[in-house]
Chain length 350, copies 2
Amino acid sequence: MDRIVIAVDAMGGDHAPEEIIKGALAAVQEVEIKVLLVGKEEVISPFLRGTSSLPVEVVNALQVVKMSDPPTDAIRAKKDSSIKVAVELVKQGRAQGVFSAGNSGATLAAAMFTLGRLKGVDRPALAGIIPTVKGHAVIIDVGGMVDCRPLHLVQFAVMGHVFAKYILNIPHPKVGLLNIGEEPAKGNETVKKAYSFLQKSPLNFVGNVEGKDVLYHKADVIVCDGFVGNVALKLGEGVVEGLVTLIKQEIKNSILGKLGLFLGKNVLKNVFQRLDYSEYGGAPLLGVNGTVIVGHGRSQAKAVKNGIKMAARFVKQEVNVHLAKGLKEHEDLIGGGWRKLTEKLKEVVS
Amino acid sequence: MDRIVIAVDAMGGDHAPEEIIKGALAAVQEVEIKVLLVGKEEVISPFLRGTSSLPVEVVNALQVVKMSDPPTDAIRAKKDSSIKVAVELVKQGRAQGVFSAGNSGATLAAAMFTLGRLKGVDRPALAGIIPTVKGHAVIIDVGGMVDCRPLHLVQFAVMGHVFAKYILNIPHPKVGLLNIGEEPAKGNETVKKAYSFLQKSPLNFVGNVEGKDVLYHKADVIVCDGFVGNVALKLGEGVVEGLVTLIKQEIKNSILGKLGLFLGKNVLKNVFQRLDYSEYGGAPLLGVNGTVIVGHGRSQAKAVKNGIKMAARFVKQEVNVHLAKGLKEHEDLIGGGWRKLTEKLKEVVS
């Protein structure tokens, strides 16, 4: 089998291009893949001196989508941007997957316009992989899609199920709905309707999951709209970071504390390592016709490396084949498919 | 001046009635107030043996609203429930404030139906007081109101502003909108419209606040709908608790870690104390015509005590007078008042 090729947006992210390139160079030394670094050749090349033996190539792209650019406009206007070109490499078959730590909205837009969606998916979704006290769980969506309808949440649930089953190797993933209480009657209108559909679906639906239960792994897959999911994911990160800041503030006032935390630092290091996003590298965009991993804007070399490796694993394990199959399977089980479900939903809403 | 009287729902909460009564007895010994314990007299009385010198009285109420009861139905059906009777004591002038750690939806419903709303408020909101690296911030709403329109978010902003100004003593509170990005164009339709109104308002509006910035105190007042706010608040709590669990898991594997954390335990204790909800006792319900503090369902004596003391402080500092004044002030400043703003909003929406 040929080497898997991953296109990497070398210009995207707060620490681009240096940390992105470093991460790519580390990735190709750990797994048998090839990386195409997409971006301004004159900027990238100096970082590649002395690495000519490694399977890394530069693909020139003269434009850059900034973090602050409006995603859809940027993708339309900047046809020669690194992210657009990287996604096109997949479309053309020159690469099998993409990693970008740049403007995530632009990555989503480029992926949707260029690669299209899988059958049965109205809106692709970002699946955040989060650490829990028992391992990892998936939150879907974490930033792609705001203003979701119940149908979208049901699709997210199916995609999360397939992802957890085939990639995280959980045979019967527990699927939960992020909500403000455990009872079925809780929540806003969208969530209540999604609940009633999920209850009838063949998924292993465990009901509502409250914010406090997320880390306790009440479900393997936690379904929510992109607004709530994004706020929740970033809040969780912020709380972990805030705790480190608070611990540092308190240590200043305590000699015993300094000694104690010196001795106990490996314990805390292990804990925070388990909570560190860079261990996972990025959030897969599920539902597009291709492999796309969206990295954290703040990604440094380690996160980039892990994100690229995740993209390669996705390709190798044929996630999209499983996703398409899972969506189809679920369509049959629901009886009549998505179209019928959409119509049913329209009846309920009207 | 007469002693401030606080009605306490003795039957509400996971640890009712014992912890509620203990908290009430502690409160009357710390501040000069009187407490009316509302609930089943035969259940409450045994806990009051030997406390006849304390300013605590029992008000008999034979029904109990359960945590799982549908709020509005329960309040309509159970006219002699402890929470309904407690709120009525305020309406009758026999008490000036209420504390309940019971079914929060039922507390909200009882307060709205019995006490009514302040002028200029369409929906009362729960203001969660959260610890940050710099002190405290207010998140409003944290569980009262889902399916909010932009107008409601603007009202929450005004109430949060008044609360932060007059109770937390912040002269010019920074008001932020919880969102998935910093740029004005980010977020769902409701949030985007709320942004444009807040930008024109005389509040000290600092723009969008992301989940990761909440603990870093980017704003004193963080505005969001009750769905997002509730998920975020509970997730934050869960992450802090989850961290404790993870630290315990890691300590098991490390002798040095055990010793270290023994020496450093005061540091961690201080940190987690700063993050402990029971230090604040509860979330004030802002916008109803009376003082109502909603305690955490899991409240133990200490949280109950602090919640009751908060209710007394609210009455003493005449928060609702300031709220009414603040809402009025803001109404004038907007020019034409809420009615006009509502109409404007309808134009935008349609």
